[in-house]
């Protein structure tokens, strides 16, 4: 530790003064001028003014009591009529304002009392070292020494270490106990599959009505769920994976990679609506530029280039759902997604 300066020589304490480190100890610092004279308040000098302030504080307290009464009056006089939003607003406003008045007036009154009427001189208290006095510290040390002596904690090393070992291991059962926070099934296969399968119709969210290819006009976008979603046992969990956006572009606008030629139907394309960043719904479709925007973290996906990322923190394109039409002209899935949807996870590609 740095000892740039010796002791300042002024301390006459029973122990060496703590190190000042690299602090500069001035030899001729300006001297503390001591307390300035007390500046009396008007209430100290003029009994009439003191009386006036006292009345003011009393008035505050009475206003507060009035506010409490008014709050009760508002509670009873302005009840909530079921279905009438105006009555909710009135109840909230009047009960709240009267309550606020009751609280503010008593608070302001008490503070005003303390500032204008209570004894106004500053008082002084001496500080002491935070550390215990030398005899206290010595006694504390002595107690530890004695306890160690009497128990043999330091002497019986194997005993002590076996205790520490037992204590370290003891929380393990409690950790194991947490396993059943989630079901027994492995989450990884669950995350890799959705409700979509060959022949499942694309239906509107939330009505569940099927969509004809002819309904999907150029420039339109549909929020889509698989048929039968509402009948499943866990519709929200399924929807959180299976939500899809369907759009139609001119077929020549689509840049289709090899192997995906039959994934769209006459320019109708379906992409997962769950962002590949952290899973928000990518719900904003910009028709002119054919960009999808995630409102959470502004990742943008270019639909003409198979939803590749053009801006923002997401890395992967939105997974595409291969679609076609059935005999009746309704849009159906050709299969499940060919990769996991939604946010990335460690085992995603394994």
């Amino acid at each position: 530790m740095a000892q740039d300066h010796g002791s300042t020589g002024t301390e006459v304490a029973h122990r060496a003064a703590p190190s000042a480190g690299t602090a500069v100890i001035p030899t001729d610092a300006v001297e503390n001028p001591g307390f300035p004279p007390y500046r009396p308040r008007v209430t100290d000098l003029d009994p009439a003014k003191e009386k006036a302030q006292e009345r003011r504080v009393i008035a505050m307290f009475l206003v507060s009591a009035l506010g409490s009464v008014l709050a009760v009056v508002a509670y009873i006089a302005f009840p909530i009529t079921p279905g009438d939003m105006e009555s909710v607003r009135t109840n909230n406003l009047l009960f709240g304002l009267a309550g606020a008045l009751a609280l503010l007036a008593v608070g302001v009154g008490a503070v005003h009392w303390s500032k204008s009427l209570m004894h106004g001189h500053d008082l002084v208290e001496q500080r002491h070292d935070t550390r215990g006095s030398e005899p206290t510290r010595a006694s504390a040390l002595e107690i530890f020494r004695q306890a160690n002596e009497e128990s043999g904690f330091g002497r019986r090393k194997f005993l002590r270490n076996s205790l520490i070992g037992a204590l370290v291991v003891s929380p393990v059962p409690a950790v194991v106990l947490l396993r059943d926070l989630a079901p027994a099934a492995d989450p990884v296969p669950l995350l890799k599959h959705t409700m979509w399968a060959e022949g499942v119709r694309l239906t509107r969210d939330p009505s569940g009505t099927p969509i004809r290819a002819s309904d999907v006009t150029l420039g339109s976008a549909f929020h889509v769920i698989p048929e039968g979603l509402h009948e499943t046992s866990h519709p929200l969990e399924e929807k959180a994976k299976a939500a899809v956006l369907v759009m139609r572009l001119k077929p020549e606008q689509l840049h289709v990679t090899e192997g995906r030629e039959d994934w769209n139907y006459a320019g109708i394309i379906a992409y997962s609506k769950i962002c590949t960043h952290v899973g928000c719904p990518v719900a904003l479709y910009e028709q002119i530029t054919h960009h999808l925007l995630c409102p959470c973290h502004q990742s943008q996906f270019d639909i003409t280039h198979e939803a590749k990322v053009i801006f923002g923190p997401a890395k992967r394109p939105l997974p595409q759902l291969p679609i076609t039409v059935d005999d009746e002209g309704y849009l159906i899935a050709r299969s499940d997604f060919t990769e996991p949807v939604g946010p990335s996870f460690w085992e995603r590609s394994v």
Partner: protein, 548 residues
């Protein structure tokens, strides 16, 4: 010369003489009750110890009080809400009085939140009190931390209390986020979705942690009940315990005070708990409570009925988290595209999530350990009870300014879309702008703050030595015009001259004649901290300046 009483007890006899209260029935009852309690609890000792403890006064000391009082408001309003809120994700069809959502499927949590808002008198008010008080709670803790940081009030012996306060800040944000998620509305559900996505991005354990947290696949039917347990039991218990220790250490260490005539490192000057501080602080509690209630009566917060129940598919544009989560959300937004890789045969490494989490972690850990870093650099082992003026610790103030700028950039990023729409900019440009600000801003803020501090110190020195410009222009006999400088009184000057300075550490070889790497590093830090410094005015300088 001194008119302030030298000890608290010296005050007592004079006062007692003035106020010999008539011993009416009331007084007799108080006397009997005090005796009854004391004979069973020995409470008179506590009153003697605490009753006349001195609290120094300064407006900035009120920020921590705001935090404490808004927490009490949170406890009171939260208790009322638990009487009606049902933390269940069982699906029901809403049949309450809010027409637009009638018949819609939603969780019991959402339905009971709507009932609190629309079918229980005062329920909406209490919900809004609870939410506004929570926002104020975190905000006042943040400002209180800034006050403590910039005045060096974290120095010995208060380093541990800084750590406890820091833990409280983290707990407060956790309380806020868990509470925000309870109504199971669209906005909070998307917030949980982001948490799920982030957790899944952690290497190796992420998938499983998310699975265990949500009790299966997202969103599941467990999360609201689990967060509720944390929100109303575990976290409040921890907050109350931490506040207890925080207050206890405050009493043990006594409060810091700003330099003023008569105040030294060895005394505390101010008002005693009984009666002045109790009246002021008690009154201030009611003022804080009153202001929160007034805001709750006038300004809507978190209108979950507009968002609707949670559904994984819809989302509204321009969604914002509560303000204190903004910096974390902003950190996610600022990641450039493409930071995700496959490693060791196909495992996915989501750096677009890990990097912001690590950066935020480093940032808050730096905040946590700053007192220990500064203590190591100065090597100062003395107790410090005088709060420093920020200008008198230029490097610390500059580091603080850099930290605030960094945080502000992250925070602004959470609103990048709203900034873009409000100012008619492209969201890409806003994001790039904030990315640049995040990297460059802290350096600019550091440099500016340090220069401003040194400039203010020079000005202080000038005024202490030569007085201030009086605005009075005098023509000298020779025709020369001068402005008369007015000298400060000794009392006024004290604040300007009574600060401590440090000088850079000189490297010295140790006992073996070696200069260790650790020593070099410390010397380098010390030079960074204290190379530019302004010495306080000395008595000699003062005297010599008075002669001409």
């Amino acid at each position: 010369m001194s008119t302030a009483e030298t000890t608290a007890t010296a005050q007592a006899p004079a006062r007692a003489g003035e106020s010999t209260a008539p011993a009416g029935n009331g007084m007799r009852f108080v006397g009997w009750a005090s005796n009854y309690i004391d004979e069973r609890t020995s409470i008179s000792g506590a009153v003697k110890f605490l009753g006349r403890k001195i609290f120094p006064d300064h407006w900035s000391f009120m920020l921590g009080e705001v935090a404490l009082y808004s927490f009490i408001v949170i406890l009171l309003s939260g208790t009322f809400l638990t009487l009606f809120f049902q933390a269940s994700m069982v699906e029901v069809h809403y049949e309450g009085s809010y027409e637009p959502l009638k018949g819609l499927p939603m969780s019991v949590a959402m339905a009971s939140t709507l009932d609190i808002s629309f079918d229980i008198r005062g329920g909406l008010l209490v919900r809004q009190i609870h939410h506004w008080a929570a926002l104020l709670f975190v905000a006042s803790i943040g400002l209180h931390m800034l006050r403590v940081f910039f005045t060096g009030a974290f120095r010995k012996p208060r380093e541990l209390n800084w750590v406890i306060g820091f833990i409280l800040f983290i707990l407060a944000m956790a309380e806020g986020f868990t509470g925000y998620s309870l109504p199971d509305d669209l906005l909070s559900g998307n917030g949980l979705r982001i948490i799920d996505g982030m957790v899944k991005g952690f290497p190796i354990v992420g998938t499983w942690i998310s699975y265990l947290l949500f009790g299966g696949e997202f969103p599941g039917t467990d999360i609201v009940g689990r967060l509720y347990m944390l929100h109303i039991m575990v976290l409040p218990a921890l907050v109350i315990a931490a506040i207890g220790i925080h207050m206890l250490l405050l009493i043990v260490n006594k409060h810091t005070q700003f330099a003023a005539p008569g105040r030294t490192n060895d005394n505390v000057v101010g008002a005693p708990i009984l009666p002045v501080f109790a009246a002021k602080a008690g009154g201030f509690f009611f003022i804080v409570f009153g202001v929160i209630v007034a805001i709750a009566a006038l300004v809507t917060i978190n209108p979950v009925w507009n968002y609707g129940p949670y559904d994984p598919s819809p989302i509204s544009a321009g969604t914002q988290p509560d303000w204190y989560i903004g910096f974390a959300d902003g950190a996610l937004r600022l990641v450039p595209p493409g930071w995700e890789f496959e490693i060791f045969g196909g495992y996915t490494l989501s750096l677009n999530i890990l990097v912001p989490v690590i950066v935020l972690g480093l940032f808050i850990v730096t905040v946590l350990i700053y007192p220990f870093i500064e203590a190591w650099v100065t090597g100062d082992k003395r107790e410090h009870h005088i709060a420093e003026r920020p200008r008198n610790a230029p490097t610390r103030t500059a580091i603080g300014a850099a930290g605030v700028t960094f945080y502000a950039a992250l925070w602004a990023a959470a609103s990048s879309d709203l900034i873009a729409t409000h100012f008619k900019l492209a969201v890409e440009h806003v994001t790039w702008g904030i990315q640049a600000w995040l990297i460059l801003g802290p350096f600019i803020a550091y440099f500016l703050a340090k220069r401003i501090c040194l400039g203010l110190q020079k000005k202080d020195r000038e005024i202490a030595l030569h007085g201030f410009e009086s605005g009075r222009i005098v023509r000298m006999p020779g025709g020369e015009y001068i402005e008369v400088h007015e000298q400060l009184s000794d009392y006024e000057r004290w604040r300007l001259v009574s600060f401590q300075e440090y000088k850079p550490l000189m490297i010295r070889p140790n006992a073996e004649g070696k200069i260790t790497l650790r020593q070099r590093f410390r010397a380098r830090l010390s030079r960074w901290f204290f190379e530019d410094r302004i010495a306080p005015v000395t008595q000699k300088e003062l005297e010599s300046s008075n002669h001409h």
